[in-house]
């Protein structure tokens, strides 16, 4: 259950257009390899296993067979100015098992730079430079032997 309540409507009260419960789920790339039918989410700390299941089933119509959760504690570190030990917020991770026949692969969001891509970029830049030089020559073909700074 969310800690925020949908306010009970009182006669004459304003109609609530937007309601934001404090439940959210973020699909993350699993750190350890998972079977194709298991998906990892980071979710709000207040969510229980039942909340995760309901969230996915009621909003996105995704069948959940099983939900396992864990709370991850991030590393502690020194405060840069004061020097005392500080820690970021904990994160709750939910591992959602879908039926066997379902599968999900986390998309490759940022294309990694392959060798071909680098060569391609280089060729493109070279071609542009060559074209630019040809343009320059074309522009100045009537002004042979004139210095570059001399313009009308």
């Amino acid at each position: 259950m969310s800690t925020r309540w949908y306010p009970i409507y009182q006669k004459g009260g304003p109609q609530l257009r937007v309601f934001l419960p404090n439940f959210w789920m973020k699909l993350v790339k699993p750190t350890q390899d998972q079977p194709p039918n298991i998906v990892q989410f980071a979710c709000s700390m207040e969510m229980t296993k039942h909340d995760v299941k309901n969230y996915l089933e009621k909003i996105y119509n995704i069948k959940c067979v099983d939900v396992r959760t864990r709370i991850h504690m991030p590393k502690t570190r020194r405060d840069p100015g004061k020097g005392y030990v500080i820690k970021d917020e904990d994160t709750k991770y939910a591992y959602v098992t879908m039926p066997k026949e379902e599968s999900f692969k986390f998309p490759d969001l940022f294309e990694t730079e392959t060798k071909e891509k680098i060569v391609e970029d280089h060729d493109k830049a070279m071609k542009q430079a060559k074209e630019g030089f040809q343009d320059f020559l074309k522009k100045n073909k009537d002004r042979a032997n004139m210095p570059g700074w001399f313009t009308i």
Binding site: Q32, D33, P35, I38, V65, D66, R77, V85, T97, K100
Partner: protein
């Protein structure tokens, strides 16, 4: 006392004088053809592999069953990290993992292998049918009357397990009574109710955890091995409602060649077992097949298992997966029991069995019955052998079969004779002696178990040590742990420079690498010591293998 007293150190010095010595040509030093030492691969992996093989040979050479088990446990004082395969807890989609870690090919059809077709039981079935029908009806109705099933403190699982084990006991009694005259092997069979069965083995081929990978990445000489698979110590823990044992093993169902048939596929499970919901624990290596070493009835014939835990899987809402869970239970229960028996015959997870072992498994709630026959061909498939070992274990199973449809007015309706016949076939499968095979090749001839040792002190010491390890009871002294405040203020952030460095992590020690014999032997008070100098005889003798 002699007249002349020569200092004792003088004569040896005289005789060792080189001036009296003559050089003796040593002909044995030279041979006609030169003998060179073998050329060994000196790469890091190969050196490590040779070290491991030497360890496995060391375990093989240990004399008795119990000492072998202690020897397996020697590397770790606090036990090993173990991946649990509980009989009564099956996470979703677990069959693939169970097959991989037991290297089992599963064949499901309603007729068990060819072998069982030659066993005729129609006569026995006819004799027993009415008696069995009555017994089941009485057990179901009678138990309900006797014990209040509406009682709140009994869960559904407990209720089902109770009735099924009662029915199993009755059926076994009836069948054994009938058959003990015609089948002598049943007369001599040993029966156990709810034995504790634990079995531990190494399974290889699964991906390394991130922690191991990062360690490998950090060392230049292991960097190239980063993605190599690592072994997992798998532990089966189960308690069948009844087992039947005999002095002789069951005959093998298929031949040795068939066991190496590459067409018998075994699914390869690459991931960490925790990815599908299996848990880990720190445990000592324990192999207990429900009896102690030295029991003459050391071969399993038949085991009955409950299936009440399926009620706990209702929330998965997948009946197909429940069926797979039963197959999984049969595979791990059969393999686990046979593996533990193999350990009592002197084999272990490093030294493979030299002949196949067979068992029969029944999973039932009294009404629904599943039958499985299992042939164990290999128990060695840790990472070194996971690809090289061509052998695989085979499990034949049936679907879930109903023994009867319903109970009406204290009578069973729609009794299925076929199911009864399948059960009787298991009882009529006669164990045989294996001619020309040494059943315990890796055990000593005279001293197979520690009870054979004549030395009282040694026997008692080994007995106490062995029983403590297999009990898996926690130690009296609490295990070592790093406290949270130490992790935060001493390890992750070095904020306490002035503290005295006394804890293991400050002294570059790893308490979890502590070996089993790294401890003080038992202290003997002075009054129990023989007359010796003060510093001698303080500690009792230890007999670590």
């Amino acid at each position: 006392m002699s007249l002349f007293r020569i200092k004792t150190s003088i004569p040896p010095r005289l005789f060792h004088c080189r001036c009296f010595a003559t050089a003796l040509p040593n002909d044995e030093e030279y041979t006609a053809t030169p003998h060179y030492p073998p050329i060994l691969d000196m790469s890091f992996e190969k050196k490590l592999e040779r070290k491991k093989v030497a360890k496995h040979e060391e375990i093989k050479a240990v004399k008795t069953v119990e000492e072998k088990q202690i020897k397996l446990n020697m590397p770790r004082f606090y036990g090993f990290k173990s991946y649990m395969l509980n009989e009564d807890y099956c996470p979703y989609n677990n069959l693939g993992l169970a097959q991989h870690v037991t290297r089992t090919h599963l064949i499901v059809n309603n007729e068990l292998p060819e072998y069982y077709k030659n066993i005729d039981v129609s006569g026995v079935a006819l004799n027993l049918k009415s008696e069995i029908e009555e017994a089941i009806a009485v057990e179901i109705d009678g138990y309900k009357r006797e014990n209040d099933f509406t009682n709140d403190d009994l869960t559904k699982v407990e209720m089902e397990n109770l009735t099924s084990s009662l029915i199993v006991k009755q059926l076994n009694r009836i069948i054994k009574n009938e058959m003990s005259t015609s089948h002598p092997h049943m007369k001599n069979a040993q029966i156990d109710y709810e034995p504790r069965i634990e079995s531990t083995w190494l399974a290889g081929g699964m991906d390394a955890p991130e922690r191991v990978k990062s360690v490998r990445r950090g060392r230049p000489w292991t960097k190239h091995m980063e993605d190599d698979p690592v072994d997992r110590l798998m532990v089966f823990v189960g308690s069948p409602c009844m087992t039947v044992r005999s002095e002789l093993p069951l005959p093998p169902i298929v031949s040795r060649d068939e066991a190496e048939n590459a067409e018998l596929e075994v699914p390869f499970f690459r991931l960490d077992p925790r990815a599908v919901g299996n848990k880990t624990e720190f445990r000592h290596i324990a192999n207990t097949p429900g009896f102690w070493p030295g029991d003459p009835h050391k071969f399993g014939l038949l085991s009955y298992h409950n299936r009440g835990y399926l009620h706990n899987r209702k929330h998965y809402q997948d009946p197909q997966d429940d069926k797979e869970a039963v197959h999984r239970q049969a595979i791990i229960a059969s393999f686990g029991w046979l593996q533990a028996q193999a350990n009592f015959l002197g084999f272990n997870t490093y030294n493979d069995i030299t002949y196949p072992l067979v068992t029969q498994t029944v999973i039932t709630d009294g009404k629904v019955w599943s039958f499985y026959a299992y042939q164990l061909n290999t128990i060695v498939f840790h990472t070194m052998y996971v690809n090289e070992n061509p052998k695989r274990n085979i499990c034949w199973g049936t679907e879930e079969l109903n023994l009867y449809d319903r109970v009406e007015n204290g009578k069973l309706e729609g009794f299925n004779d076929q199911v009864l016949e399948l059960l009787l076939k298991f009882y009529c499968n006669v164990p045989e002696s294996r001619l020309g095979i040494n059943l315990t090749p890796y055990l000593n001839h005279e001293e197979k178990v520690i009870a054979d040792y004549a030395d009282d002190d040694k026997r008692q010491w080994l007995e106490r040590e062995y029983k403590f390890l297999v009990s898996n009871r926690p130690r009296f002294k609490l295990d070592y742990e790093v406290y949270s405040w130490e992790k935060i203020y001493k390890i992750d952030n070095k904020t306490r420079h002035m503290d005295k460095k006394l804890r293991p992590f400050e002294l570059l020690q790893d308490p979890f690498k502590r070996t089993l014999d790294d401890r003080q032997p038992i202290y003997i008070p002075r009054k129990f010591r023989p007359h010796l100098p003060r510093h001698k005889g303080k500690y009792a003798k230890e007999y670590f293998p």
